[in-house]
């Protein structure tokens, strides 16, 4: 899954994810008919509208192959949100099946024991994105794959598990609260002295990096797939 945000704002992220998987010997298919997982509508309180978009994802990713997503949040939408979104509809079974097969990128790499062969001489700090951590319950896999990158040193920041304040439409409904949290996150990442901030979610990174630039906090940011792709 490319994810809509990468399509619009950072195609390099899904391309990096594809590169990482291909290098590890995985055959990757990027279905052409895919759009968005539907989360923006779902979390904004418009389930009917979300269902229509999500149904497109069900069609695009039909089959038995694992669905690998370079976003903890989109993966959580499919794994945790789809069963509820499609409950009592004709797509209920298809949704449950897709939820079963869907996995976040680093989870897939860790689960399959893939070797990325990535190298990076430098330090990074990792932000635990909320849905990755508290819906997928995944704290380890990103650290595991980062740990396997030759030359990379991970410096943990304070309160890495605290929300960065992005929160989808929350970021534009309450921009000031969102901005405050983004700034706190940017500062926590910056003071580690790490060369760059990485995360499994582009959404958090766009918000944190954008807020860092606005408030004058020196911070580089990259998606974890881009680090793994070298």
């Amino acid at each position: 899954m490319r994810t809509c945000l990468a399509d619009v704002a950072a195609p390099s992220v899904w391309k990096a994810a594809r590169t990482v998987l291909q290098r590890a010997g995985v055959e990757v298919v990027v279905p052409r008919g895919q759009t968005c997982c539907g989360q923006p509508g779902w979390s904004s309180g418009h389930p009917e509208e979300a269902r229509r978009v999500a149904r497109r994802a069900l069609r695009a990713f039909a089959g038995d192959d694992p669905v690998v997503v370079p976003s903890g949040s989109c993966a959580a939408m499919v794994c945790h949100g789809y069963p509820e979104l499609f409950a009592g509809t004709p797509d209920e079974d298809a949704a449950a099946a897709m939820a079963e097969r869907t996995v976040e990128l680093t989870q897939f790499i860790a689960r399959e024991g893939l070797r990325t062969g990535a190298e990076l001489s430098g330090t990074v700090t990792y932000h635990d994105s909320c849905h990755m951590l508290r819906i997928l319950r995944e704290r380890e896999s990103p650290r595991e794959v980062l740990g396997a990158v030759a030359g990379l040193e991970l410096i943990e920041m304070e309160q890495t598990d605290v929300c960065c304040g992005f929160g989808g439409t929350f970021s534009v409904n309450f921009p000031e609260v969102s901005g405050r949290l983004g700034e706190e996150k940017a500062r926590a990442a910056s003071v580690t002295g790490a060369h760059e901030l990485v995360a499994c979610d582009l959404s958090c990174l766009l918000h944190i990096a954008g807020r860092a630039r606005r408030t004058g906090v020196p911070l580089r940011a990259r998606h974890i797939a881009e680090v793994l792709a070298g």
């Binding site: 809509c4 399509d7 619009v8 704002a9 950072a10 390099s12 992220v13 008919g33 895919q34 759009t35 923006p40 509508g41 779902w42 979390s43 904004s44 309180g45 418009h46 009917e48 509208e49 979300a50 229509r52 978009v53 149904r55 497109r56 695009a60 909320c130 849905h131 508290r134 819906i135 605290v162 929300c163 304040g165 992005f166 929160g167 989808g168 439409t169 929350f170 970021s171 534009v172 409904n173 309450f174 921009p175 000031e176 609260v177 969102s178 901005g179 405050r180 949290l181 983004g182 766009l206 918000h207 990096a209 954008g210 807020r211 630039r213 606005r214 580089r220 940011a221 990259r222 881009e226």
Partner: protein
């Protein structure tokens, strides 16, 4: 769904976004919240080390799910036992009926002064206003709530209600209330409050308390507190009125004991509360103290309608306040900004549910959340608050939400079609390139401008330095 009476405070008139902005600008508040939040987090971490908190939480969840499933039976049993112990039980459909019962009772007994201990339910029903309208003097006796009452503010924090005020502000309030010189010293301030409040306890005709839990098995009301004021409120005046949300009932002492341990662990990071008052009926003939009358007011106020819906788990809440302290949004703006007695994640869920989904408030509170899920992790009875927030958002029936839905309908139509999706994606890429020639965009036009109010947008990724 019933509950047409507003739960939010009537003076919270500014839009929520504006109130969050004001709160963010208050550095004093920010510091106080940070200190309180850190101390809560440290206590909570200690509980996790010293107790099998995860298992205790699972059991807490099982107990509350079971309680809500059997709510009608438990309430019938509670009513029977409280009555057998000499108490009077009254079920009320809404806050207005609850207030009327209490003011009528006060009139019938010729009461003049009412001493109150901390209770969220009485805030929900706006009891203080009703008492004052009826010509009664109502005094809050929880230190924090008394301070708020003196400041003309409403409580919005389940625990530490005056967390947003500092010592100097409190000293000024005490001096104004008493007309005395009050020294700027923590001990002296507490001593002053104790003396003034003792006078209230002695004068009160009626004591009004909330109820943390009621035990159906024995008809016992549990009132948990840290200051001893609730003990005086429920024992000294000749009439005790306990106001309880109808969902706060458990079956037996086995369940009650578990929840009474979980409650302070989650609320204040301690494995026991300072005082747990267990009240079974009014004073019995062979007892030395206690009130002559005990009235238990069981409040529906929109609760019964939640049973059997996918929002039912909101009734599991034991009002510990942990979700507030765990919430990054709440820690940034504090409870006052929410304008409801119930703030934070649980407040954002139950405020609109209790007062109905048509009020404009319901377009605001459930959306003041990034859905980060910290509240679910913090909740001692495992309420999936982030899921409930999404469900509540889906039910909002205001003009604002309908307008928003029309926009999402356009989005839905476009993004369910790969061709239109592809077109919008290409359009966005071109737009990013046009607006962001130097790698960053500082201002976007139209609704996208909400993004760039607070942040720059990188027009290429990874972003340029």
């Amino acid at each position: 769904m019933s509950g047409t009476r507003p739960v939010v405070y009537t003076d919270a008139v500014a839009p929520l976004r504006e109130r969050t902005r004001e709160a963010l600008a208050d550095d004093e508040l920010h510091g106080n919240l940070a200190t309180a939040g850190a101390s809560w987090a440290a206590g909570r971490a200690r509980m996790g080390r010293e107790h099998p908190f995860a298992q205790m939480r699972e059991r807490g969840r099982a107990i509350r799910r079971d309680n809500i499933r059997h709510l009608p039976e438990l309430l019938a049993r509670l009513e029977e036992r409280v009555t057998a112990a000499g108490g009077t039980v009254v079920r009320v459909s809404d806050g207005e009926a609850a207030c009327r019962y209490i003011t009528d009772l006060a009139a019938a007994r010729g009461a003049r002064t009412v001493a109150k201990s901390k209770s969220m339910a009485t805030e929900e029903i706006k009891l203080n206003e009703a008492l004052e309208e009826a010509g009664l003097r109502a005094v809050e006796t929880d230190l924090g709530e008394w301070i708020l009452q003196l400041a003309g503010q409403h409580p919005s924090h389940i625990i530490a209600p005056a967390v947003h005020l500092n010592r100097e502000q409190i000293r000024e309030l005490f001096a104004a209330e008493s007309g005395e010189e009050v020294p700027d010293d923590r001990e002296a301030l507490v001593a002053h409050a104790r003396r003034r409040l003792r006078e209230v306890f002695a004068a009160a005709d009626i004591g009004v308390s909330g109820v943390n839990l009621a035990v159906a098995e024995t008809g016992t009301l549990c009132v948990v507190e840290n200051e001893g004021n609730a003990r005086l409120v429920t024992a000294l005046p000749r009439i005790h009125v306990a106001v309880m949300g109808m969902e706060r009932v458990v079956e037996d002492w086995d369940q009650a004991a578990h929840l009474l341990q979980l409650l302070p662990m989650a609320a204040i990071g301690d494995d026991a509360a300072t005082y747990v008052n267990l009240i079974t009926g009014p004073r019995a003939p062979d007892e030395a103290d206690g009130p002559e009358e005990l009235h238990l007011v069981l409040l529906d106020g929109g609760r019964a309608a939640l049973r059997g819906t996918d929002l039912e788990e909101a009734l599991d809440c034991i009002r510990c306040g942990a979700c507030l302290y765990s919430c990054p949004m709440w820690r940034s703006v504090g409870g006052q900004a929410y304008g409801s007695p119930y703030s934070g994640p649980i407040g954002a869920v139950i405020t609109p549910l209790l007062e109905g989904m048509r009020g404009e408030r319901s377009s605001e509170l459930p959306f003041l959340s990034s859905l980060c899920g910290s509240c679910h992790d913090a909740c001692p009875v495992g309420i999936p608050l982030h899921d409930l927030l999404v469900r509540v958002r889906g039910r909002v029936a205001t003009p604002t939400h309908r307008r928003d839905r029309r926009l999402f309908a356009l989005w839905s139509r476009a993004w369910s079609s790969p061709a239109l999706y592809g077109a919008s994606r290409v359009g966005a890429r071109i737009g990013l390139r046009l607006f962001g020639r130097r790698g960053w965009i500082g201002r976007l036009p139209g609704p996208a401008g909400r993004w760039t109010e607070q942040r720059d947008l990188p027009s290429r990724w990874p972003p340029r330095e």
